[in-house]
Symmetry: C2
Subunit: 296 residues, 2 copies
């Protein structure tokens, strides 16, 4: 929502807080080739170049691992450093069902360079059962050890999570499953808890739920729930006060009617985001009528 | 949060919207004797006098039922009109476990006057198992047909709801159970869904989650989830736009760190509300340290 234009002070503060809180991984940005975007248009966290990363990690007793999301088509495989030369520990590849082969290829490439890898299968709430099973079967044959269930539109109820978690585990024997939830219906945290109960072990969350549109599962809620002594809540509250609350003055995320409407209707939030950025932001009935009329 | 000072235009708009949406009951305010408060200090919805009610219901094809909450000690039983002379259909009595006898007495009095009744047992997240069972046994012996499970502090996870719903149903044979959730941990809607799955049938919700502190289960989410054709979402979105969103400029409800902290710590939100009303509202670490140090 800010074109990856977080300044170093912000990223360092978040990195130090998560490290101190005992969080296992921090996703620091996207991995893209410098040729894919202009540094004049987007901030450093669209690239996660090694020099960018080093500015953040230097001087910190690093316990946390760093991950970055790789965009199919936006990163030249040859531009990815060997893991031994990088501060990154993990590369996550997000893809739609029709891109699974490309995602596996890119993830294998990263694995061969020494990275931990995941594949995050997006927008599965809109995928038919046969297509989903085919994609899962392809992922099962891959060497990628972690596969994410992604509720891109914030459309899932806990019952959906239970059904899909079972399906993922059955179709992906030996793999670890992750969850990435969006908060359009105020269910991101609840669905993450349901995921834990179902045996899902990689849990995505963000400070104060910050994220595109309705945002994500709030990390401070998740860590408070887990009650694992390895995690500390206080550094999270501190960095929320110092670094996240100021962003609330600049960008809107969280529960708003347009995001709720696209969540309920199982649609991409782009129309809701456009509405929220317009001057008619509070004209929520107009938005509701637009979305529901196209579904009639 | 506004001392029950909603003007008639607001109450009429909400009443008409809920009526049109097919909602079963609207809780319009508290039932108190005129001697208990001054009308100069609090608004009409602290009393729900018959003249107040008539200003709202007149001219409307009333399908929805009206309820009011009776405050033990603030309402003289003789001040309650016979139901045949009132626009109210239901009286709900909220009480703590040590007040169950008084609550049953008041509820029976209302039943004898022709009202539907419920008893809402508050703050059960802080009640020991023996005390809770005793209270439930007393309620089981009463003629009150509907008993509410109330998560006053927004402290419950869905697993707590499942355990308590089972306990309430076993201890209260033949009664209907209700749920009243608070949203401190963004779980009010999720816990209401869990309640439905457990067989709880009276579901409290508020427009856009408006309510004390973190607020409650958002009605528009609940109605969208239920997918029962008797309910309509559009009137809810319309009245949210016209009447509820303007309140966001005046009062804060919803997910804020202080409410999250009292929810996680299973405490009354009064300290969080005081913090939110102070000039140090955004000093959330200070609040976290206060609350957690008193628990150490």
């Amino acid at each position: 929502m800010n074109k990856w234009r977080f300044d170093d002070k912000f990223v360092q503060a978040v990195y130090r807080a998560l490290n101190e809180a005992g969080v296992d991984y921090m996703e620091i940005g996207y991995l893209s080739s410098e040729s894919a975007f202009s540094r004049e248009e987007v901030g450093p966290w669209r690239f996660c170049g090694e020099a960018d990363l080093q500015r953040i990690v230097e001087g910190v007793d690093k316990k946390i691992k760093l991950s970055a999301m790789a965009d199919i088509g936006r990163i030249e495989p040859d531009d990815i450093l060997p893991q031994s030369e990088s501060a990154l520990d993990m590369v996550r590849v997000a893809c739609y069902v029709h891109q699974v082969d490309k995602a596996v290829e890119l993830a294998h490439h990263c694995q061969d360079k020494g990275y931990e890898t995941t594949i995050n299968l997006m927008a599965v709430s809109t995928v038919g059962p046969r297509d989903l099973n085919e994609a899962l079967d392809d992922l099962a044959k891959s060497r990628v050890p972690i596969i994410y269930l992604v509720d891109s539109f914030g459309a899932f109820y806990s019952e959906d999570i239970e059904v899909l978690a079972k399906q993922y585990m059955e179709r992906l024997p030996g793999k670890t499953i992750g969850i990435h939830a969006h908060n359009n219906q105020q269910l991101a945290f609840a669905n993450t808890i349901s995921s834990i109960i179902c045996g899902i072990n990689y849990l995505d969350a963000t400070l104060y739920g910050i994220g595109r549109g309705a945002g994500n599962c709030p990390l401070e809620l998740l860590i408070s729930f887990l009650k694992n002594p390895k995690f500390k809540v206080r550094p999270l509250i501190k960095v929320i006060e110092e670094e996240i609350l100021p962003w609330r003055e600049k960008i809107d995320w969280g529960y708003f009617v347009p995001y709720m409407v696209t969540g309920v209707m199982n649609q991409h939030p782009r129309t809701a985001m456009a509405h929220m950025e317009s001057e008619r932001k509070d004209k929520v009935l107009e938005f509701y009528d637009q979305v529901t009329s196209t579904m009639a």
